[in-house]
């Protein structure tokens, strides 16, 4: 799977591989694609009120968001890489 063009916008907090880089930020590696898409929609419309997510999502188009959700859902976990 090619790296999404806008991956850097997410990777600062969620890691390029979906393993979060700071407290309070969820790991996304291997998360269900349907849940990730739903979460993005909730952040965008304010049902989940997290300003940094709303700002990040506002900078992205639908195709970018879908590529990012697919990327993270497809990543293996850190614990899988280091058994």
């Amino acid at each position: 799977m090619p790296r999404p063009a806008r991956l850097g916008l997410c990777a600062a907090c969620h890691g390029a591989d979906g393993e979060a880089t700071m407290p309070g930020v969820p790991n996304l590696a291997g998360q269900r694609l349907d849940y990730l898409r739903d979460a993005l929609a909730q952040y965008r419309d304010g049902r989940r009120d997290v300003p940094v997510m709303r700002t990040a999502i506002g900078a992205l188009g639908a195709a970018d968001l879908d590529a990012l959700a697919r990327w993270y859902s497809a990543q293996p976990t850190a614990r899988q890489a280091q058994p």
Copy 2:
């Protein structure tokens, strides 16, 4: 780690091992403990408005909730078990 006493309440949707059993429900296996605790607090106070989560959390005490968050954070992923 012993199975939490109230695991069954969560496992119907999230699986006993943290791999979700139905669409729209997040996997919890290996999720960051700080994020799980924060999410539980948000569901409880309505910042994340998901009635089934509010109902489930309302049936549990603080010690139960903490045991459940620790349980799911400590579970390996399904992809780890089936490489």
